[in-house]
């Protein structure tokens, strides 16, 4: 077929890309082939804009068992076990159909994990929405939360943490990033590669329907009015089917019958066949008429491109087919043989015996286009980075600021959300959501894993390099606050349209920032996901890299939580405040501004801080730990008091740089990095301070736990003196209050 401009546009292919297809094939592609190229060369599958940048990420380390390139990364956690984890976005589908979009996002990442032979044991999610004042946003928000809950709860994997932030830029383009972690035997990790000519290729799971056709190309195009037409590209999740698939696949994997296995995610059968073939250096020949179909009259094009959920592709060793089929039958699943592995390196697709596509698999994967997109510093930057605090007028009284920050949805308790998630199923959850990084024990060992996802997009907006570094530092610090040594990370990069040089610049800078921070902190990146074209009507979201960090706790009985543990404990502040307000929650909530430069980050100091936390918690010295993030030291102190009934009093030094009218608010609410509030038994406070001094970490005894008020003095002068009960009420009720009068519909 000779493709018209219109056809190419519908397939998201440029004329140049089409030209390359012609050269690769040496002929015109068939319709099915055009469809296959279109999804495999989409941004979503090919990473054509991001690949050159992602190569810079540090991906190796002594613990890395599997870096980027497979369905998920894996790190060694001792005892012969591996932690297998990854984060993935499902942004666009979640806007169109919040419940199903989020639910299938959860389903997709879970498949990535068990595809590796790992049993999934924990989920986290990072969410971004517009302001909750907007009824449409509320509907999206509650739908997404219900969707995550609906899928995760049903399949029985606990959601143990996450984070949520709000900004106008996400109103028409929410972000739904889901992280999943599983445990596998280190030497039994299964790869998604096809090999061994003559081995059978099996299809198992849900039947194929017309759903999600062009889902992958949709995820690679901006939203506009016309995208309403693409709407049927929404898939419905079936967590029950996935639970059966999960159990059946893990059972099959215990036998040594498999050569390789891959889930059918974006671009469905096309992607799984092309990638498995290409990874194994083999070819795959299938007949799509053998694929179980839910609808009648489906064309090969539709079958190859369908994104129906809950489907897997397996390559089975010759002679072991019956064994595999029997296990699936037990779970009421019917594994169907649809083809076999070949030696010619080609993806050969037949339909009732007729060849409908015949493409060298590498053309679809390794040889897909790669772009070095132009980059240019955005015009907004110079202006946005200028922050003249004196121009803001006199700040409101600290008590008012404090209350407004506690009620700000970004800071307020997320209990309304995580109460809907089963966070305890599997009886591994040692630290539940709301108490810091999620911590799950690894049964049959003494170890536990601390997990956190973080990313402050305002910082990235104001300085993508620095902001991305801060995201790495925060996620790792959260894990360290629980007692986990950061040993691996995954990332989800949510950005706007890469064809705009300024977006590409943000992207490039952010990747550099992640690389620099990960190198300095010794945390390898083992995988991740890129979501581009996050914009609506030409307006991009805040550049939002989300980092997911895995921390190893050697002794599961030695962990720390956010909340103070004992009345009378001594409060120690680790790190130093510089009164930095650039990009802060304070500026956003009180002045409606996203401005200034993000906080300074001293990476060696950050690394020392994290080592101190891990050592101090392992030694049983640190009894609670909570890092200072949004809302600064005042909000962090309050969060340490919540859920305990214990108030606290601390005294912090005046920050010289922040003199003048803003002195108090910058000291209380400034968001300087690398600070943690910890509590210790009074008799051991000196020991901690000594340990900190030895580690080169600034540490000051600032106060004590007790009473029923939250009190902060600055240089002995009272700056804040609030009732704990009132503060806690404001903080706990803020998000629910948006929904009290309109409970969601099931």
């Amino acid at each position: 077929m000779t493709a018209s401009d219109q056809i190419l546009q519908q397939h998201g292919l440029t004329r140049d890309e089409y030209q390359r297809i012609l050269e690769m094939l040496g002929r015109e592609p068939t319709v099915t082939e055009l469809g296959i190229f279109s999804v495999m060369w989409s941004e979503h599958c090919s990473y054509k804009s991001s690949r050159v940048h992602l190569r810079k990420l540090p991906t190796t380390g002594p613990r890395v068992l599997q870096g980027p390139g497979e369905n998920a990364g894996a790190v060694d956690i001792g005892d012969g076990l591996a932690a297998v984890f990854k984060i993935e976005s499902h942004n666009h589908p979640s806007f169109i159909e919040p419940y199903q979009g989020a639910a299938t996002g959860v389903g997709g990442i879970i498949r990535d994990i068990f595809t590796m032979g790992a049993r999934p044991i924990a989920l986290l999610n990072s969410l971004r929405f517009g302001p909750l004042e907007d009824p449409l946003v509320r509907r999206t928000f509650s739908g997404v939360v219900r969707g995550i809950a609906g899928y995760g709860n049903s399949i029985g994997i606990p959601t143990v943490g996450g984070e949520i932030a709000f900004d106008e830029s996400y109103t028409g383009n929410p972000l739904v990033n889901v992280f999943c972690l599983g445990i596998a035997k280190a030497d039994e990790i299964i790869k998604a590669a096809a090999s061994g000519a003559g081995n059978a290729v099996y299809y198992v799971g849900a039947k194929t329907g017309r759903d999600g056709i062009h889902g992958a190309t949709m995820a690679s195009a901006e939203f506009d009015e016309a995208s309403a037409e693409k709407r049927p590209a929404v898939q419905v999740g079936d967590p029950f089917m996935e639970k059966l698939l999960l159990e059946a696949c893990l059972e099959v994997m215990k036998t040594d019958t498999l050569v390789g296995i891959q889930d059918m995610g974006a671009a469905g059968l096309t992607c799984s066949t092309a990638e498995m073939g290409s990874r194994g250096g083999a070819g795959i020949a299938i007949d799509v008429s053998l694929v179980p179909q839910r609808e009648t009259g489906m064309t090969p094009y539709e079958i190859m491109l369908s994104e129906s959920q809950e489907r897997m592709l397996l390559v089975v060793k010759q002679g072991r087919e019956a064994e595999v089929e029997r296990i699936f039958e037990k779970w009421d699943l019917h594994a169907v043989r649809i083809g076999e592995v070949t030696t010619d390196g080609r993806l050969l697709v037949k339909h009732h015996g007729d060849v409908v596509a015949d493409i060298p698999a590498r053309c679809l994967t390794d040889e897909a286009p790669v772009y070095q997109r132009p980059m240019a510093e955005p015009a907004y930057l110079a202006e946005a980075r200028r922050l003249d605090l004196s121009s803001l007028g006199p700040p409101p009284p600290p008590a008012d600021v404090f209350r407004r920050l506690l009620a700000s949805p970004g800071i307020a308790s997320k209990r309304w959300v995580y109460r809907q998630y089963d966070h305890m199923v599997r009886t591994n959850t040692l630290v539940v959501p709301g108490m810091g990084a999620g911590v799950v024990r690894v049964k049959e060992t003494n170890r536990a894993l601390a997990l956190s996802t973080d990313g402050n997009a305002r910082f990235v907006y104001l300085d993508p390099f620095q902001g991305a570094q801060l995201a790495v530092a925060e996620a790792a610090r959260n894990v360290a606050c629980a007692g986990g040594e950061p040993i691996g990370a995954t990332n989800c990069l949510n950005f706007g349209n890469p064809e705009r040089p300024e977006i590409m610049w943000q992207f490039g800078q952010a990747v550099e920032g992640i690389s620099a921070a990960c190198r300095a902190l010794g945390i390898p990146i083992t995988g991740g996901n890129v979501s581009l074209y996050n914009e609506t009507d030409g307006r991009g979201v805040l550049p939002t890299p989300v980092l997911g960090v895995v921390g190893l706790v050697e002794d599961a009985s030695k962990i720390a939580r956010r909340a103070f543990a004992h009345d009378g404990d001594t409060i120690v502040l680790l790190g130093v405040g510089r009164g930095e307000l650039g990009g802060s929650e304070y500026l956003k909530v009180i002045h409606g501004l996203v401005r200034g430069v993000p906080p300074v980050l001293d990476l060696p100091a950050e690394a020392a801080l994290q080592r101190l936390l891990v050592a101090g918690i392992a030694a049983g010295l640190i009894r609670s730990a909570h890092d200072c993030a949004e809302g600064g030291v005042a909000v962090t102190l309050a969060e340490c008091c919540f859920d305990t009934g214990l108030g606290a009093t601390i005294d912090v030094p005046t920050i010289e740089a922040a003199a003048g009218a803003m002195a108090a608010v910058s000291t209380l609410f400034g968001e300087s990095a690398s600070r943690v509030i910890v509590s210790v038994e009074p008799s051991r406070a000196a020991e901690l301070v000594r340990l900190a001094a030895g580690a080169g970490v600034p540490a000051a005894i600032v106060g004590r736990v007790g009473g029923d008020r939250i009190r902060v003095t600055i240089g002995r002068e009272t700056a804040l003196d609030e009732s704990l009960a009132d503060a806690e009420r404001i903080w706990s009720e803020a998000i629910g209050a948006y929904f009290d009068r309109e409970r969601a519909i099931a």
Partner: protein, 86 residues
């Protein structure tokens, strides 16, 4: 007046619930039930003067709240007298 609103997944959209119910019916021996689709059913009591007004309100409710047009379609029946029955 009572509006009865049926919300169904569009025919092309996968219905895991209906499929599971069909499987269960087959296991119970009802092989003659060849397909099942499951939807939602709402009865709205509406304080409206005319049938048209009731229908207008019901379809606004369906558009805004009861159905998601991306994956679902709906149908509305108005029963003038039904309301009294209960």
């Amino acid at each position: 007046m009572r509006a009865r609103v049926f919300v169904m997944l569009k025919p092309s959209v996968f219905d895991p619930q209906g499929t599971t119910v069909a499987d269960a019916l087959h296991t119970l021996g009802y092989a003659s039930v060849t397909a099942v689709r499951q939807g939602k059913y709402f009865e709205l009591d509406i304080d409206a003067k005319t049938e048209d007004e009731a229908r207008r309100i019901a379809s606004e409710a369906a558009d805004k709240l009861l159905a998601n047009p991306v994956i679902e379609s709906y149908r509305i029946d108005i029963e003038k007298t039904e309301a009294a029955k209960r």
